[in-house]
Structure formats: C-alpha cells, structure tokens
Amino acid sequence: MTTTTTITEPAVGLRVLVGGVGYRFLRDGSVGGWVTDELMERAGGDIEVEDLSYHPVGLHQNLEDRAPYDRIVLVASMARGRPPGTITSYRWDGVLPPVEKIQDRVSEAVTGVIELDNTLIVCAAFGSLPADVRVVEVEPEDEGWGEGFSDTVTAVLPKVLETVWSFTRP
C-alpha cells in the first residue's frame, strides 16, 4: 500500500516514538537515519524522534526503562523486490516467526546486525513494543557505499517524511 497522506500537524495526547533504522552512508539504505534527522525539529510534546539504528537488544532494554509509548513508528529502507522508490506503510501485525528464527535474530542483533525486521522481531519477542507499531518502508535502488540517494528515492523523500509524520496522528 502506498500512502499519500499530507497531514503535518502533530496530534496531542498520543505518546509516539518515531525512529529510523539502518546504516549511514549506504546510499538508499540510509533512508531511516535521514528521516530521523529531518523530523528531529518537529519533535516535541508527546512525540519523540530518535535514531534507532542500534542493536535491537539494546533498544529493547532502553524501551523497558521508559514510560510506555502508545505507538512506535519505524522507518527504514528495505529491499523486498518492489519497484525502487515504492513506499509501503502499514500497521505491523506483530506476528512472530518460530522460536528458532527469533533466536537467530537475537544472535544477529547482539553481533551487530541492524535491520528493520530484526528490530521488530527482537523487541516484540522480549515484549517491549506497544500494540500499535507502524512501519514505513522504502524500496531502495542503490545500496552501495556513499552519501546521498538515487534519483528515484530522492524523488519520494518528501512523501516518505509526510507518510511517517502522518502516523503521529491518532
């Protein structure tokens, strides 16, 4: 599903954490960090914006220490075979893979792999995600080393920002 929402005013009363996930300097693979940087100045009140590009067990432990969020919004570049530049936004269904696969994801997490699916699965498995988790994915075109984005992804970045921000509304 591709959203075209253009709501820009944050809501009041919904405690939301918006976070990018991914690696820096990996061209289109770095959308998550870029969105975090761009939205940082919009944060305030009940809406927090934070770079969540660190290992998911650490994120789980940090979330455990905080007052619960009503919603967490994650944004990342994910290569899933869609046309480059496709924006997919959804409410995560919270369905976890078999225990062995979760265990593999935890092993990857503690050995340094930072990835959206790992973040969702590991944090959910340990119980630190709220029931309401929204995800915005962007299909990358170029995940090579370097700064900046491909033309295709550059063209959709404004829409990515607004899609993410729309999820801060009830």
């Binding site: 265990q103 593999d104 092993s107 503690v110």
Partner: protein, 648 residues
C-alpha cells in the same frame, strides 16, 4: 630457541638472524590437497556414498549463532561416527586493508573499528597503538589505564554473550533433549556441585535456564551485556564504535564521577563471574562424567598465540625497541604456547614468527610477479620490502609488514581456493587464540607484576574475587590436560572473573591517579610526514589482534589487520595442514544420538566450531536443502550444485 620451522637462529646474546648459508631461506614446497571432492576424489566420494549410506556430505552453511559469514563443509561417516573431511570457508571479503590505503592514518582508528559489530572498540585501540608506534607518541598514565578499562568492559560484554547466547544454547534443555535424550534423563537427577553459587539444584534446572529467549541465564546474560556497555560508554562515548580513542590517549576527560559509575558496574561482575564459573564447571563435569569422549569434542593440539593486553601505565612507551619489556609488564602478557608449554613471551619473537599464506584463499600471492612482488611465490620472494624489523630481526616475505592484500574472487574449489580467510601461521604452525590463551600465558608467566587479585602458579591461575552479594572467593583455573570445546567454554567463563579483576585493579589505579591530580589523558602529537612503520599488538575478546601499518608523506601505504578469527577460520596452509576449526572438527567424535542419517543434526560439530567463538564478519554454515539454519545464506559452502549432500 622458540622456532623449529622458520630459518631463524639466535646467538648467545639472543639476537636473531637467518640461518647461515641458506640460499633462499624462506622458500617452501607446497603439498597438493587431495580432497574427496576433487574431480578425481569426487568419484571416490560418490562411490563411497553409493556403497555406504552412512557416508554423507554435510554442509553447515551458514553456521548460525556466530558473528558474520562462515560456512563449514564436512564429510562424515555416521556409522563409525567420525568426521572424514572438513573445510572452513570465510564467505565474505573484509577489505578494510584496501579501504585504508592512501588515507590519513588517524582515519584507521574509526574505519578499522567497523570491522566488527561486536568488538569494534578493540580495533580502535589496536589501531591507536599502531599509530603511536609510528608517530612516536605514548599516552599519559591515566590515558593508558582508561584504555585498559575500556577493553576490560568490552570483554565483559563479549564473554557472557558468547557463553549464553551463542554457544550456550547448545547445552540448553531443547538442544540436549533433541540430540541426546539419554543425557537429559541423567540431568534430571544429577545434582549440581555449585548450587550455592548459581542457585540451580539439578543439571536439568541449569540446562532449562540456558534455554534461548526464555531461560533465566539467557536473560541474565543479556542484562549483563548491558551493564558492561553502560560502563563502556561513560568514557568511550558509544559502543561498539567508540569516539574517544585517539593516538596518544583519549579525547574525553575522566573524573571521579565517571570512575564511580564504572566501578558500580564492574562490581556486578564479581558475583556474576563466580556464578558463571560455577555453571560451566558443572556443565563440563556433567558431560565428562556422562561420557568421557566429550573431552575429545573440538580437540586439537595445544598450540596458541596471545598478543597480551592491558598495558602497565608506567611501562608502555609505544616503542618497538622496548616492546619486549613493556609487553611482558601487561596484565595479560604476550605468549606463544606450543604443545601446552609457553615457548616465548617476547613480542618481537611473536611478531617475527608471523606469516600469512594464501594458497587456498581468494587472494593473489603478493610475492609473485603477477602480484606486487618480484619473486616467484612460495617464498622465492626476491627482495622483501622489510627483510627485517627495526631491530634487525628477520621477517618472512609473508609477514604482515610485507603483505599486500590482492583479492581475487573465483569459484570455490576444495583443492585450490575456498576461503576469504588467509592462513596465518606462527613458526609455520596453526594457532588458536582466545580468552583461554590469555589465561594460559598468564598462568605460565614468570615475574608477573600485577598480583593484587591474580596469582599465576605455573599450572593454574588463582583469582581473588572480592565480596559483593556473594562472599569473597578464590577461584582457580587450571591449565587443562585435555583440550577441546568444553575447556574453551570453561576458560571463557573464568575469563569473566579474570577480566573483572583486571578492570577493578585498573579502576583502583585510576582513582589513585585522579586523587593525586594525575588527570591528563592524552599527549599532543603531529602526524609525521616521513616514512614510518608501526604495529599495534592488543587483543579482542576472542584473542590475538594486530594491526601493522606502513605510512609515508602523512598517509597510509599499507595497513594489515590480523584478527583472532582469521587465525582460527584459516583454510589449509601450503603444506596441507588444516586450520584450527578444520582440525578441531576433524578430531570430533559424533556422540549425538540419532537413529537415521537424516536425523543427524551435527550438534557435536557445532559445539566444536562455536567453542572458538567465531566472529568472522565472514562465517561457516551447515544446511540441508529444506533445513537452512539461518536466513543469512551468503553462499553454499559445498561448492557443488548437486543435491547429494545435507545442508543444516
């Protein structure tokens, strides 16, 4: 005389030179490999497999619960329960050596740190040490102590992670029930010897607590990794890639508040260290009593190499001239262990004995004309750039200072090339390394200078653990008679207590320094523009770590990183000798309980491999067509497209 195989002799004063009269002293003859899956051997293997349903190819691709990409190829005889052939395959090219060429040397601290997402900080420190040797600058005492603290904290993160998240699940209730149900029955009635320390009454209770995701010990280890990380970032800024490590010390100041915060967290490892030792002592004893053959799982020769770490703040001067002196004054002194005995504690001898071979790796031999060398390969090297070190000690053309990284990707062939790992050797022998080699070298070292909490006896290491929630205790790690997977894990367990005591010792020293106004943590320096060489000799949680640098005109000409997993994931060397993983699996008895070949899970092979704590960022895998162990399939280790083999 520490070398048996290299062409190096020592005079009465201990000065090294090449053996007189040898026309081409470093030359060697290669031995052709004859793998079962060689085109000639392929027939042999197929005939064997056709005749004997119990001979099977089993590929672990990737090996899960290790960091990075490793594949492991085996041929097993399930009737006689033997491993017939092994090949360890690092499936990713690391490439930092190429990335660093031509850069400002200070970049190396931050770029090389990215070589590992588990223990990047040790690369930063090792890089800083290499730069300090090249620049001629050393940190003030508190800067050295702070680095010691950082590395200790990194190991306190790393060891619990391995013992309970990576290797530990192989000893948990689900794994034991699935692979050796008779052991589970025995565990249900087996009383633990160390209940008073860890709280578990039976071995079954302990194994249940090791269950991934839900087990108490699994959860506790996750928590303890957090405690260590919290302490680390107080002076490292962040983890695993610290921001405050610079040549000449640290870029962050340290005050009493920082030290107190760190001290609170180190104190948590006093009890935890005791507890983990109790757990792994009980696990080892239980398996050994159930079946003494468990002593043979992962067995290989007691050959180890240890660079040592944790510098004496009043001895370290960063110079190569004095490296033997300041190296021996470390909390963990350097050492090379051959057949269980310490053959040298000299860092220059350790350095002199290093070589990396690429006969079975995806690289060009840099000494050949089509590499960057001017010789014929195989040690017929013409003129090496560094025939000696700065002290006149002979160096092989395959020494890291002479090495060039020339990647050459090509198809996998067990007879020719099959790994992105090189084959490091010391005195032309395969060496393993880890926290246990640190304990071993320390236990056997003489004139040990840091005995406030640590007492080497020659065949053991006594650790005085202060009172916390548990009473004070003396732990004693004994140099093992049998060397294999269980002892590697036991050694790593003792290393938590050992590391905690070194951290605590350094904390007390830091507190004294701050109290006395000795608060300087860095020494100013300038990047030299002339020709320089340097080396960082340090360690990772997994053992040996060196960075060798050559620089000129203010930029890096050559940078070589030699990691513990490069040593241990090594493919076969020019003489056909296996690397440590290969060697250990080859000698592993298959004790798993299975009725039919298709039920074989390879638990003993996996215990052997994981006991080394592989951290590739390059891995080993086992998989069957319908049972891929991890999703991180990099490439199939088997190098064959046919389906007559099992993938796990």
């Amino acid at each position: 005389m520490c070398f048996k195989n290299l062409p190096i002799q020592f005079d009465e004063q201990g000065n090294a030179s090449l053996i007189d009269g040898a026309p081409n002293p470093w030359a060697y003859e290669t031995r052709e490999l004859m793998p079962l899956e060689d085109p000639a051997g392929q027939d042999k293997l197929k005939k064997l497999m056709a005749r004997n349903g119990h001979i099977r190819r089993v590929d672990f691709d990737p090996v899960t619960r290790v960091a990075g990409a490793l594949a492991f190829h085996t041929v097993v005889d399930l009737e006689n329960r033997k491993v017939l052939e092994t090949d360890s395959m690092a499936t990713l090219f690391r490439g930092y050596e190429v990335i660093l060429k031509g850069r400002d040397p200070r970049d190396a601290i931050y770029i090389s740190s990215r070589a590992c997402g588990v223990c990047g900080g040790v690369h930063s420190v090792t890089s800083a040490l290499a730069l300090e040797m090249a620049f001629g600058v050393a940190p003030p005492p508190l800067g050295i102590v702070a680095r010691n603290l950082l590395s200790s904290l990194e190991y306190l993160y790393d060891h619990p992670l391995h013992l309970f998240l990576l290797a530990g699940p192989d000893y948990s209730e689900p794994a034991v029930r699935a692979t050796n149900p008779e052991l589970w029955s025995r565990a249900e009635s087996a009383r633990c010897a160390n209940t008073a320390v860890h709280g578990f009454g039976t071995m079954a209770e302990l194994m249940t607590a090791m269950t991934p995701l839900t087990g108490k010990l699994y959860a506790e280890a996750l928590h303890m990794t957090r405690v260590a990380r919290e302490a680390y970032v107080l002076i490292g800024g962040k983890y695993p890639h610290p921001q405050t490590i610079v040549p000449g010390g640290l870029s962050a100041s340290i005050d009493l508040s920082d030290l107190n915060e760190i001290g609170l967290r180190i104190g948590k490892f006093f009890d935890y260290g005791q507890k983990v030792v109790g757990i792994w002592d009980d696990l080892c004893d239980f398996f050994y009593e159930a079946n003494p053959q468990y002593r043979e799982v992962g067995r290989r020769p007691k050959n180890m190499i240890e660079t040592g770490q944790w510098d004496d703040p009043y001895a370290y001067d960063a110079s190569y001239e004095n490296v033997d002196d300041w190296g021996r004054k470390r909390w963990a002194p350097p050492g090379v262990i051959v057949d269980g005995e310490l053959v040298t504690t000299s860092m220059t001898q350790l350095n002199m004995g290093l070589e990396e071979f690429v006969e079975h790796s995806f690289y060009e031999d840099w000494t050949k004309p089509n590499g960057n060398g001017n010789g014929n390969g195989n040690g017929n090297h013409g003129n090496s750039r560094f025939p000696t070190d700065a002290l006149g000690n002979p160096l092989s053309p395959y020494h890291p200072w002479n090495k060039e990284t020339i990647p050459k990707a090509q198809g996998t062939n067990w007879k020719e090339k099959y790994s992105w790992s090189t084959a490091p050797r010391w005195d032309r022998m395969a060496m393993e390394t880890g926290p246990y080699s640190r304990l071993w070298a320390c236990a056997k070292s003489e004139n040990y200078g840091h005995s406030r909490f640590i007492d080497p006896t020659g065949d053991s290491l006594r650790l005085d653990i202060p009172r916390a929630a548990l009473p004070a205790a003396e732990l004693e790690w004994h140099v093992p008679e049998d060397w294999g997977a269980f002892e590697r894990n036991r050694g790593r367990a003792y290393s938590i207590a050992y590391t905690a005591m070194i951290a605590y010792d350094n904390l007390l020293i830091a507190l004294d320094m701050v109290r006395n106004g000795e608060t300087k943590v860095s020494t100013p320096y300038e990047v030299p523009k002339d020709f320089r060489v340097g080396a960082g000799f340090w360690g990772a949680g997994r053992g040996f770590l060196t960075h060798h640098i050559v620089m000129d005109e203010g930029v890096i000409e050559n940078y070589q990183i030699l990691t513990p997993s490069t040593w241990m994931a090594s493919p076969k060397d020019p003489w056909g000798n296996p690397g440590p993983y290969e060697e250990a699996v080859l000698d592993t008895p298959l004790l798993e309980n299975f009725e039919k070949p298709e039920d074989f899970k390879g638990i003993d092979v996996l215990r052997a491999i994981r006991s080394f704590d592989p951290c590739m960022p390059c891995t080993t895998h086992i998989h069957t067509d319908d049972r891929v162990i991890t999703r991180e399939v990099v490439t199939c280790a088997c190098g064959a497209d046919d389906d007559d083999h099992d993938h796990h």
